[in-house]
């Protein structure tokens, strides 16, 4: 390529390409092939194994700052459960969670024609952490006497079917800290033999993988990547899949640029050596 010096590529070319490869998957999701990792696959299968009509619990222990990673998990789980005709009871040990869960429940309930109080219930937030978890082991209605809207649980048909964890086929905990998955595993899973699944941020996930190994968690979604895999499995690619598309392509693009830069670098070095020119001043790395 005469007259075109790779070393002098205007960085605006790089910027434009980055801009395009981030925006494009958002506009046109391309669903790059993505391997589903075993913890996600197991979670999906665990939900599939729950007989229709059973009750599952969605325990959301997160706050708005981790929404980009965790909200797609909540949405996919609710979609998965509604599609399989499972009934959902949601609880929260974090004060900020109930409105976020509500954000996911409302549109999906409309989409699947589910009725509040019959097919799903948002029990809202209860302070106390571990104490609340143990209280639920004895009696869920006594621990959450009202739902998120202040309605006594006695007035909700779904809650008449629920006494304690014996009536819950599976618990999905979405957590970004403490109290969260660790407490659910230690206080609830071991004591009441609950089938427990979890979704956490990428930063928080590593210590929980051993729980999947030991079977204390039936599955685990780690970060945006876990969320994206789950979205693929429930066949409803959303924010997470789009985000992962962009991530993959940007990473590949940067690697491509690095390789390109090195090709140019060696070509130039060879040319210089041929000319016998002095070595150029290099930046120190």
């Amino acid at each position: 390529m005469a007259g075109f010096d790779l070393r002098q590529i205007d960085r605006r070319v790089i910027f434009t390409l980055i801009f395009v490869v981030v925006a494009w998957p958002l506009l046109r999701p391309m669903r790059l092939p993505m391997d589903v990792t075993p913890p996600v696959q197991r979670l999906y299968e665990a939900v599939e194994a729950v007989p229709p009509g059973s009750i599952v619990m969605l325990a959301g222990d997160y706050s708005p700052d981790t929404m980009p990673e965790l909200q797609p998990m909540v949405i996919s789980f609710v979609r998965h459960a509604f599609r399989r005709d499972l009934k959902i009871v949601t609880t929260s040990l974090w004060a900020n969670s109930p409105p976020l869960i509500e954000d996911a429940l409302a549109p999906l309930a409309a989409e699947f024609g589910k009725t509040y109080g019959v097919d799903f219930v948002n029990l809202g937030y209860m302070a106390g952490g571990t104490v609340t978890l143990l209280g639920m082991g004895a009696s869920i209605p006594n621990t959450f006497p009202q739902d998120y809207y202040g309605t006594p649980v006695a007035g909700l048909p779904l809650m008449r079917e629920v006494t304690n964890f014996d009536d819950i086929a599976l618990v999905m905990n979405v957590s970004s800290g403490t109290p969260g998955t660790r407490e659910w595993v230690q206080q609830v899973q071991g004591r009441y033999r609950v089938r427990l699944a979890s979704g956490t941020t990428a930063v928080a996930a590593p210590p929980f993988y051993p729980y999947v190994q030991s079977g204390q968690l039936v599955g685990l979604l780690g970060g945006l990547k876990g969320a994206a895999e789950y979205e693929m499995l429930v066949d409803a690619p959303g924010d997470a899949v789009r985000g992962m598309d962009a991530q993959s392509i940007v990473h590949a693009l940067i690697v491509f640029f690095i390789l390109l830069g090195n090709v140019a670098y060696f070509a130039e070095r060879r040319a210089q050596r041929a000319r016998g020119g002095a070595a150029q001043r290099e930046v120190t790395a």
Binding site: V22, F257, V283
Partner: protein, 224 residues
């Protein structure tokens, strides 16, 4: 004397806080807390020093009609508006509860959410572009060390996304990019950072001691 008093104060304050670490007695701890609180207030009270500097530099520009003085005008006026919305003392008497308050829904909050937050967030996100341009121009195989930097960066970059998983699919587990990423982050990365941290810690302590003992004093400025 003008030099000695501040140095004596520095010494006393420094020694007290140092000793406080080893003495659990609650009165000593309480005094330490009080001193820290004082520090916070001194810093908070200092903000006008900076704002004063900002006002001086920009109003000079405006007064002399230097190039870009219009932007200086934008800066100063928006600051004044922010102050007015945030602290207008007559607000409680006035008809508009959105002024003189920093609560959710107030004008102050609105300006913060729709100007400060997006502007700063976008400036932060410029890093996505710069990280690419920096990698392009600086990651060259020009020396063994530079090659290590380059290779470990590429491995980790790819190992973190599904693409990396696909690229090394079918290989034994310990040759896959995600596994290598994990290994690099856990071993060389940790060893190096631990070493740098320990070295820097010794630097901090030596510097702190020099400050307390008054050997290092240039930050206090001139004699006058």
């Amino acid at each position: 004397m003008r030099r000695e008093i501040p140095l004596a104060i520095t010494f006393l304050a420094g020694m007290f806080m140092l000793v406080d670490f080893f003495v659990p007695h609650h009165r000593v701890s309480a005094a330490g807390e009080e001193l820290k609180q004082w520090g916070t207030i001194v810093i908070a009270a200092s903000i006008l020093l900076g704002i004063g500097n900002l006002i001086r530099v920009h109003s000079k520009k405006i007064a002399r009609r230097q190039s870009g003085w219009g932007f200086s005008l934008v800066c100063l006026s928006v600051m004044a508006v922010m102050l007015w919305f945030g602290m207008w003392p007559g607000a409680k008497l006035g008809p508009n509860p959105l002024v003189g308050s920093i609560a959710q829904g107030s004008y102050f909050n609105w300006m913060y959410l729709n100007m400060d937050v997006p502007l700063q967030g976008t400036m932060f996100s410029l890093l996505a572009f710069f990280i690419a341009s920096a990698a392009y121009r600086a990651f060259r195989l020009r020396s063994p060390e530079a090659s290590l930097l380059l290779i470990s960066a590429i491995v980790v970059m790819l190992g973190r996304v599904p693409l990396g998983q696909l690229l090394t699919k079918g290989l034994p587990e310990k040759a896959t990019l995600p596994w290598l990423t994990e290994a690099i982050m856990t071993y060389p990365n940790m060893a190096a950072f631990r070493g740098i941290l320990m070295g820097a810690a010794l630097g901090v302590m030596a510097m702190g001691l020099r400050i307390i003992l008054g050997i290092e004093r240039s930050y206090l400025g001139g004699e006058k």
